[in-house]
Amino acid sequence: MSAALEQGAEERAESIRMIRDSAAGIAARGGDRKRIRALRFQAPGFDPAVLRQMGEQGWIGLRVPEEKGGAGLGMSEFCAVAEELGAALAPEPLVATALSAALLSAAGAERPLAGLLSGEKLVLTAWQEGPATLEAPGSADAPRLFIPVAGGADAFLVPVRQDRGLALRFQRREGADLTLDKTQDGGFYGTLRPLGGEVLAADVAEALDNALDEAALGTAAYLLGVMDQAFVLTLEYLRTRQQFGKPIGSFQALQHRAADLKIQIALSRASIDSAAALLDRAGAPRAARRAAVSRAKARASEAAMLVTKQAIQLHGGIGYTDEADIGLYLRKAMVLANQFGTAALHRRRFAAEAREDEV
C-alpha cells in the first residue's frame, strides 16, 4: 500500500482537489474546444506535446507504484483526472496509456515503461479480438481490433496465449500491419495484425484482468466529465435562449427534463466514486471489485448517452450543426459508451459477480 492511500480521509480529499486543479491547468473544463476541432480526424488525432505534459504531471503512471517510477496513487485520484480530461474533451489518451503502464509495470519492463510514463513514447495495448468484450483470448494471429489513438502509436503490447499463460509481446510500430479507421470523436481505431516480437513477460493474465477493470472505471469517469460539461452548456442555453418571449428554461417540460438528467449525473458520480473507493480498499474481494466497476460503467455509459442526446434536443436546431460545440460531447459519448465494455456487458457481469447482500 502506497503512502498516498494511507492518508486520512480529509487529506485524501484535499489531494484529489489538487489533482483536479492541476488537470484543469492542462485541460480546462469546457476549455479549448477550438483545439479539439483542430486535432480531429487527422492522425494522430491528439497533441503529442499535451501527452508529454500529462507524463510530466505523473498521470500516465498515476497508478504505477512509486518504486517503479509511478506516482502510486489510487483509483479515486485516477478517476478525478479522467473526469477532468473528459470535461475538457481531451483527445490525449489517459486510460489507454495507464492500461499499458500497468502491464509494463507488471512485466518489469523498465525501459519501455519509462518512455511511456514520460509521455514521450505511446505504447498501446492490442488485446481485443472482437467487439463488446473484456476478455483477451490471446490468439497468435487474430487481428487486434479497436485500438484507441492508434494513429500516434510508437509500439504495441500484444497478449498472446502460450504454454505458461498469457504472454506479453512487444511489437514496434515500424513495419507493423496497422490500419486506421476514423471515429466519431475525431480519433482513430487501429486494427493490428500481430507479427510476433520480443516477449516481455510469460504471464500477464491477472495484471491484464485488473488493468481492464481500471480502464473500464477510468472510461466511466471520463464519460462523467463529458456528460457533466454537456449538461453545464445545456443549462446555460436553457437560461439564455429566448422563445415565446422568455428563456426556454422557464418551460416546465424542459425544467423537468433537466431535473431528470441531473439525477442521472448524480447517480453516475456516486457509482463511480464508490467503485473507486472500493478498488482503493486493501483486500476487497475480486468479485466485489468487478461488480462495482460494472455497476459504474453500465450507469455511466447509459447516462452519458442520455445526457448528450438530450443536450442536442434541448439545443434545438443549432444543436444539430457541426459548428455547435455540444455535438462534440455526443460524439465522444458515442465512442466511449461501448469502449471497455458496453452497458449490456457490464450488466451481465454485475449479475454474475454481485452478491445479493452487497447490492
Binding site: 476514423k182 442536442i312 444539430y320
Partner: protein
C-alpha cells in the same frame, strides 16, 4: 397521358411500380442524405418526361390532377422503392400556395418554370431567433415605391445553395399582433444583397443553409396574397407536411438495418435482443396502422386535424429508438465514423446521427406535445 384517375388503385399502383423499377437510378435508392439538385437531375428529367412532376396540382396548371387516394399510392410506391426526395419545395409548398392564394399572373409566371425544372425553390421560414416560436420572425420587408426592401436572416433553409428562388415569411407590420404583421414574399436568390452560407450538420453534410438579406429590393408584385396574411396562408399548408413526416418509411428502413446489424454482430437470436427488437417491430406495425387512419382521412378528401401531430411525434421517436438500439448492439463499431466494412447498410453511428434532428425539425417534439395538449386534449393554459 392516360387518364390515371380512371385506373383502378391496383392498376395505378402497378403503373407507378413499373415506372420506378425501370427508370429510377439504382445508386440513388435510400440515400443517406438529401440529394442536391445536380445529383437528382437525371431522375427529375425522367419524371418530367412522364409528366409526373406535380401529382397534386390540377391538370390546368400542368399537374397530374391526381385524387388524394392516388397521390397516396404514388408516395407509398416511391417510399417502398427508396426514391429520394428532390429539392421539391416548389412542387410541394409553393405551387399549391400560388394555386390557392396567388394571382393568375403569378401562376402563369412561376408554375411552368417549376414543372420544367428551371426554377428551384427553397423555403425561408425559420430564423436564428424564431424557431419553435416562428411567428416572432424579424426579417423585415419595407415598401419603397414599387419595391420591398428586405433585411434580415433565415436559417435551416434546406438546400438553399441549389435554389434560384426562395419563398419567405417576412415582417411587414411591426405595430400589430406578431402573427398579423407577416407577409409571404418571393425573392430571387440572384438579387443583389442575398448571401447563402451552408451549415455543416452533425452528419457532416451540408443540406442546411443560412440566407442573409442585405437591402434586397424585391418587386411589389412578388408578394403573394394580401399583405400581412402570410401567416395564415403558410399555416394552411402545414397539415399536409406533417403526414409526410409521420410516414413509417424512415423507421421501417432503419428497422431493416437494425436486423442486418444484429445478424452481423451475432446477437440476432439472443432473447434480450429479440424482445427489444420485437417491441420496436410492434411499434412500427401499430404506427403503420395509425398512419393508415390518417391516410384514410385524406382519401376521403377531408383535411387533417391537429391530431396529426401524434404521427410525426411517434414516428420521430420510434426512428430514434431503433437507431439507439443499433448503437448498443454495435459494440465499439458504434464509434466508427464510416460504415462498417464499407457497407452503407451497416452504419450505426450514421443512422443514429441521422435520426437526431427528426425530433427537432418540422415542429419539435416539444411543440407537437404542446399542440396535442392544447388543441386536441383542450387542456387549459
Amino acid at each position: 397521358m392516360t387518364e390515371l384517375n380512371a385506373l383502378s388503385d391496383e392498376a395505378f399502383r402497378a403503373e407507378v411500380r413499373r415506372f420506378v423499377e425501370s427508370e429510377y437510378p439504382a445508386e440513388l435508392r435510400n440515400p443517406q442524405h438529401r440529394l442536391h439538385w445536380d445529383q437528382g437531375r437525371a431522375w427529375f428529367e425522367k419524371v418530367k418526361a412522364k409528366g409526373w412532376v406535380a401529382p397534386g396540382w390540377p391538370r390546368e396548371y400542368g399537374g397530374m390532377g391526381l385524387s388524394a387516394s392516388k397521390q397516396i399510392i404514388l408516395i407509398e410506391e416511391y417510399e417502398r422503392h427508396g426514391v429520394a426526395r428532390l429539392p421539391d419545395h416548389g412542387v410541394i409548398m409553393l405551387g399549391p400556395l400560388l394555386i390557392r392564394f396567388g394571382t393568375e399572373a403569378q401562376r402563369q409566371r412561376f408554375l411552368p418554370r417549376i414543372l420544367a425544372g428551371e426554377d428551384i425553390w427553397c423555403q425561408g421560414y425559420s430564423e436564428p431567433g424564431a424557431g419553435s416560436d416562428l411567428a416572432s420572425l424579424r426579417t423585415e420587408a419595407v415598401l419603397d415605391g414599387d419595391h420591398y426592401v428586405v433585411n434580415g436572416q433565415k436559417i435551416w433553409t434546406t438546400l438553399a445553395t441549389d435554389a434560384n428562388w426562395i419563398f419567405c415569411l417576412v415582417r411587414t407590420d411591426k405595430t400589430v399582433k406578431k402573427q398579423e404583421g407577416i407577409s409571404f414574399l418571393l425573392i430571387g436568390m440572384n438579387s443583389p444583397g442575398v448571401t447563402v452560407r451552408p451549415i455543416i450538420n452533425l452528419a457532416l453534410h451540408d443540406e442546411f443553409c443560412e440566407v442573409f438579406f442585405d437591402n434586397v429590393r424585391v418587386p411589389r408584385e412578388n408578394l403573394v396574397g394580401e399583405p400581412n396574411k402570410g401567416w395564415s396562408m403558410a399555416k394552411a399548408l402545414l397539415g399536409f407536411e406533417r403526414i409526410f413526416l409521420g410516414s413509417p418509411r424512415q423507421s421501417g428502413y432503419a428497422l431493416a438495418r437494425l436486423k442486418m446489424l444484429a445478424e452481423r454482430m451475432g446477437v440476432i437470436d439472443e432473447p434480450e435482443f429479440q424482445d427489444r427488437y420485437t417491441r420496436l417491430r410492434l411499434d412500427l406495425e401499430d404506427h403503420k396502422a395509425l398512419y393508415e387512419t390518417f391516410v384514410a382521412v385524406l382519401r376521403r378528401g377531408e383535411s387533417l386535424g391537429p391530431d396529426v401531430s401524434m404521427l410525426k411525434l411517434h414516428q420521430a421517436e420510434l426512428f430514434q429508438r431503433i437507431t439507439e438500439l443499433m448503437l448498443e448492439v454495435a459494440g465499439e463499431n458504434a464509434g466508427l465514423l464510416e460504415p462498417m466494412g464499407g457497407n452503407r447498410d451497416l452504419h450505426p453511428s450514421g443512422q443514429f446521427i441521422e435520426a437526431r434532428p427528426t425530433t427537432i425539425y418540422g415542429g419539435s417534439s416539444e411543440i407537437q406535445r404542446g399542440i396535442l395538449a392544447k388543441n386536441v386534449l383542450e387542456l387549459p393554459g
